[in-house]
Symmetry: C2
Subunit: 272 residues, 2 copies
Amino acid sequence: MTSEFDADTAISRVAAGAYRAEVSSRWNVADKPNGGYLLALALRAATAELPLPHPFTATAHYLRAPVPGPALLDVEVVRAGRTHATAEVRLLQEDTEVLRALTTFGDLGTLSGPTHVAAGPPDFPPVEECLTGRAAAMPDGTPVAIAERFDMAVHPDTLGWPRGQPTGSAQVGAWVRLVDGRDPDPLMLAMVVDALPPPVFDIGAAGWVPTIELTTHIRALPAPGWLRVWVTTRFLQGGYLEEDAEVWDSEGILVAQSRQLARLTGWTQQQH
Amino acid sequence: MTSEFDADTAISRVAAGAYRAEVSSRWNVADKPNGGYLLALALRAATAELPLPHPFTATAHYLRAPVPGPALLDVEVVRAGRTHATAEVRLLQEDTEVLRALTTFGDLGTLSGPTHVAAGPPDFPPVEECLTGRAAAMPDGTPVAIAERFDMAVHPDTLGWPRGQPTGSAQVGAWVRLVDGRDPDPLMLAMVVDALPPPVFDIGAAGWVPTIELTTHIRALPAPGWLRVWVTTRFLQGGYLEEDAEVWDSEGILVAQSRQLARLTGWTQQQH
């Protein structure tokens, strides 16, 4: 059986370097497809064109609001070397460019250089002591279809705002896996870095947090099973903020890092 | 008098969206122009084409080794909106693409949204208690021309390896200003995030650390005077590493954040 993620990132070749895809509404927040999901779709097209298998680094600039429905992916191979290969992907809907991505691929299965790691995974209670349940809608009733794509077990010190108790600290941590049991791989990681609710909501902000740019580094092939995802915002300045995500696999290895620049719009300070 | 940085990022228009530049050897490490300097040059060309003044986010993929000498900058305006404008820049030398960048611009002078900051600048001793002097060569004699472009005052707990005493922690912090007194601005910040020696050298690594991809967010207009720059590597995995830089201005405001993915090559473990 094809997993939801694989079905919703399927592409079909229509010409040299050109692919057709269907942007699914299953990864929506309100009526907007999630940005990480769109980048994963772009990376699927890059994978089809590049001689190396895995995205090492991928950046997307979000140009216009995407919609569920047909999309065209145009891939340009910028450089194809033996160790690294770079591509550009443009995602178009109704002849309008919605997203542009730059990505450099390599082979995570052949890394042989030195390893020296200065930080371990964040301290998480076991899954069964975390907060479970799928919040398929925001407190104001806005539907969040993407929440139904995951089993999530939220670190109890984070994500207080859905319970009316913002923690005051812009951090969200959760155990995460796809609800249909599909194990993580590099493309799934490129999506999951953007799958948690915005940490800024826990400092009392409400509004919309559209991503301007998202960059993800895939640092290792993930082991099967639960991921630990930790997302932090430290600097909300003049309405702009960064979201830094780290993803750790079930063996405690850092498998992805991401940072996005986003803008908080429609801000209303909540009472708390 | 034109500053070194402005002289070495000067461009001249040769056609619609096309600019000629001269890559200076003054920003070299060994015989290679610094990656942050090249990105600043690309952003100078983007500035000439976009209707908004400042890079909010910029990503460069380094495709081939650059050399000092003539370069052509090709700018494509991807989208020009009222609040954000996105461009792509290709830097070519001898008809070969050396760097490709994606950048989204805005106006840092008009930010009016909320501010909530969770971290202050790192704890630095005053300039006069830091380690000064310009290391214009590596211990092995490799020339480092870029070091002569700055006054630097290094945090004494960091950068032990040039003194034969690696600290064991992959962090470098320094007070930094341009040697000719030119004050920081967004383009200078896009260069300075990449101007310090690789933090990984302080865990006993020696070698070459070529950047694969560098992304910088400019978060505020910097005040005149000294910058505090702090660069950290936490994850060296299979020979690949991230370098995270934060830049704080003289008023203690975070003005830039960057992350790069780089590869440690020619690794030799040093005795210490």
